[in-house]
Each structure stands twice: as C-alpha cells, then as structure tokens.
C-alpha cells in the first residue's frame, strides 16, 4: 500500500480478520445480538460506529496527555456520549426518516464496549493518526461481522434482504415458498445471532489454527 506504511495498514487490516473485535476479542456482542435481525439496521449501525469510533479515537488521542488518570473512564464515556448525541441530532435534523428507523440503536452505540475498549487500549497510548486508523479498522471489523450476521438472519428469518423479497412471497406462495419452504422465525430471535457468530468463530479458527486459545 503506497498510502499507508505497512505498520499503519496493519491497523486497518488486522481487525478485519485475525484480530476481529467480535470473533477474537469478543467485544460488542450485545449489539451484534440486538440489531442484526435486519440487514439494513446492521449496515447503518456499522456506519454509525465507524464515525463514532473514528472520531472518538482521535479526540481521546489528542487529549491523552492531559486526561487525569483517575477519571479517564468517565472522560472517555463523556466523549462517546457527546459524539453519539451529535450523530443522533444531526440525523434527526437532516435525515428524519432514517433516524426514525434506527430508533434506539443510535443511543445504543454508547454501550458498545468496542468503543471504550479501543479508547482504553489504543487511543490513550498512540497519536491521532494511528488512533484514527485503529478506530476505522476496528469499526470495519465490527461492521463486517454485523453485516454477515444480519445477512443470514434476515435471509433465513424473513426471506428478505434489505426488505426485498428475494426468496419469493411467503403469503402468495411464490418462488421457494411454492415448494414448501418456510421462513425460520427463530432466526429473528437474539439467540440465533449468537449461533451465527459462533459459526463464524468456528470457521475462522478452523482456517487459522493459530487463533485457537488453550
């Protein structure tokens, strides 16, 4: 990569696969369960986290030398909360329909432990540019898993993708439904998200044995 040094590009690429925040670090599981019943919600959540984590990491990194260590967690929380409120307000003002569809999800970004995790583990000890890359990388790694899980849950649970009926119409019995296929409503419930994440973890560790912990 010409644009980034090898060390910098590692910051983006590692979280996408072998240091993935969800499947390897097992962070952010809560939101991966809550919002992945539909692909669209997963995508928007991924984008919102991308913004909050990218910007938050830079802010924390810029003030890392003046944060009092005793209250650093509170400072981090304030930064996340402020960014999330700004995202929420801007969406409400300029993209009202979208913000309605997201509802509580935007607020839930605050509780995403990946964000606090990256502030604490990376931004407090690195410069703004590297922190920015780390934030983007981790948010992408998170987003990829979210989108994979959302894809399977919406496809198998509702027979749709982004709202389009890709498998035919379950009521009119067209497409796959005409030969007796049924949607698996269980896919829409949170436990199935865990099982899908579990399958991803299994596949990933089968392919790269070095990831298996004792």
């Amino acid at each position: 990569m010409g644009l980034l040094s090898r060390k910098d590009s590692k910051l983006i690429l590692d979280p996408l696969a072998d240091d993935n925040p969800i499947t390897i670090q097992v962070l952010g599981i809560c939101s991966a369960l809550a919002i992945t019943a539909q692909l669209k919600a997963s995508i928007v959540m991924a984008i919102s986290v991308l913004f909050v984590l990218g910007a938050g990491n830079v802010v924390i990194s810029l003030i890392r030398n003046i944060i009092p260590s005793k209250i650093r967690i509170i400072v981090q929380l304030t930064v996340v909360a402020a960014l999330v409120i700004i995202v929420d307000q801007v969406l409400k003002a300029f993209s009202y329909q979208l913000s309605k569809e997201l509802g509580a999800f935007i607020g839930l970004i605050i509780t995403n432990c990946i964000i606090m995790g990256r502030f604490e583990a990376f931004a407090l000890g690195n410069g703004p540019w590297r922190s920015f890359l780390d934030g983007i990388g981790n948010a992408l790694g998170y987003g990829v898993i979210l989108i994979i899980v959302g894809f399977f849950r919406e496809l198998l649970g509702s027979g749709t993708l982004l709202g389009f009926k890709v498998l035919g119409d379950p009521i009119a019995k067209t497409g796959l439904y005409s030969i007796g296929y049924e949607n698996n409503g269980f896919m829409l419930l949170a436990p199935m998200a865990l099982i899908v994440v579990g399958v991803i973890i299994w596949v990933q560790r089968t392919r790269n044995k070095a990831l298996i912990e004792d």
């Binding site: 919600a41 003046i66 304030t78 509580a104």
Partner: protein, 249 residues
C-alpha cells in the same frame, strides 16, 4: 515524582472544564438543529394523518408517505376540519389540533385534569374520514397510531409507529402486512357497543376475511407489542365513542 495529572485539584478542574465544554457544545448543536427537528416532526404528523386516510405513495408491500415537499398542500386539501373534543361530546374547531401532544393530554387526564381529544376530519373521493391520534405502551417504549374511521367506527386505514420495539418483531407493526389488516375492521360489536380490535394470537382468521370479529392476526414473536396495541386501541378510541354517537343523530 507525582504526575501533574494525578493531582486532585487538577482532576477536579479538568472535570469542570470538560463538562463546560461538552455541555456548551451539545447545547449549541441541539439549539441550532432544533428548528429543523421541530419542522420534521410537524411534517411527519401531517404525513401520518394523511397516510391513515389513504393519501400516501404506497408501492406494493412497502409503506411510503406522501413526499415532504407536497405534504403541506395535500394536508390542506384533504383535511377539511380539525376539531378538539372535550367532555366527550363538545367539539370545537381548531386548525392546529394536529399539534396537540397526545402524551401530554394523557398525563393531564391521569393527574385529574381534562384530556382534550383531537380529531381530524378528512374528505377523499366523497368519503368522510375521522382520524384519531392514539398512544400506548409497547414492549420497550411508546407505541402510537393514527386511526382513520368512518362515522360507524369502522376502520378505514391506520398508521402505527413505535419508539423502540424490537427490529424484525414488534417493529413490524409499522409494516403494511400488519397495518393493512385493520382496514375494514369494526371497532363496535354487532349491537353497537365499543369493543376495540384485539391483536389476537389465537385468531382463527389469519387471512382476515371476517371484518366483524374485532380481531386481527398477531405478529409472531411480538406478543407484548401486540397486547400494547390492543390496549391502546381499546382505551384511547373508547374516549371518542360519545362523539361518534352524536354523529349518528
């Protein structure tokens, strides 16, 4: 040597400074965006009301409001009268009735005050629609609706919405397959008593052919949201019954 940032005085000053900066920033963002947000909410209300009476841009399967640039004109065109009902039957015209906050009126009623009931009267293709805004509780947060009825309290259309029901489950109350089930449903029973419409899990009529059974089919996995919607329809629309009785005479 003790680090400068470990001192208590520094910590307190930092905390105060941070609160001031973040507070000022958020207050600035909120107040500068507030006019846009209020306007969006007002437009949305008009869109919801028009949607309930069938003025919308629905395509097959998806619910689409009339576009925001057209909504003001269409609203004045179709909504011929807005009234506020007090004491059950006294109706007073009020061209800003749609801005009445149902939530505030409900809490007024709870604390012993009098609840104003807004009702919007629309005309479309020679038919008169009475549209009532109602509000209740779902599983996680508020649910609300605009229900368009004829003068016999037969539902002509409905728009449901929610604050934070589960995506893919309770959130489906704002999907066409659920909302369209209400069209033609009776709120009164055969002898004219108010019963509401029950979101029923044991509905023996999943295709919703029987419009006088006071039931529509529930959404699988959204029991509590469905119960909340049933309760909302029952308790809030009941308040309009005395007014609808005066229409018949």
């Amino acid at each position: 040597m003790e680090n400068r940032t470990d001192k208590n005085s520094y910590t307190i000053l930092f905390a105060i400074g941070m609160v001031l900066i973040v507070g000022a920033l958020l207050a600035f963002v909120a107040s500068s965006l507030k006019p846009n947000i209020t306007e969006n909410k007002r437009i949305e209300k008009q869109q919801n009301i028009l949607y309930a009476m069938g003025v919308n841009e629905n395509e097959e399967g998806s619910a689409n409001f009339i576009s925001t640039d057209k909504v003001a004109d269409e609203f004045t065109k179709y909504i011929t009268k807005q009234i506020v009902i007090t004491n059950g039957t006294q109706a007073e015209e009020n061209s800003e009735a749609y801005l009445i906050d149902v939530k505030k009126e409900q809490s007024k009623a709870k604390s012993g005050g009098e609840r104003r009931l807004p009702l919007f009267i629309g005309e479309k293709e020679g038919k008169t629609y009475y549209i009532a805004p109602i509000r209740g509780k779902g599983l996680w947060d508020a649910v609300w609706a605009y229900v368009a009825m004829d003068k016999n309290m037969v539902v002509q259309g409905a728009y449901f919405d929610h604050q934070g029901e589960t995506a893919g489950l309770g959130a489906n109350i704002k999907e066409r397959f659920f909302m369209d089930d209400f069209i033609g449903e009776h709120l009164l029973d055969a002898s004219g008593n108010f019963v509401g419409i029950n979101i029923s899990k044991s509905n023996a009529d999943p295709l919703n052919k029987d419009k006088t059974d006071n039931e529509v089919d529930a959404i699988a996995g959204a029991t509590i949201t469905g119960d909340g919607v049933s309760a909302m329809l029952r308790s809030d629309l009941k308040l309009y019954v005395p007014y609808f009785k005066t229409l018949k005479n």
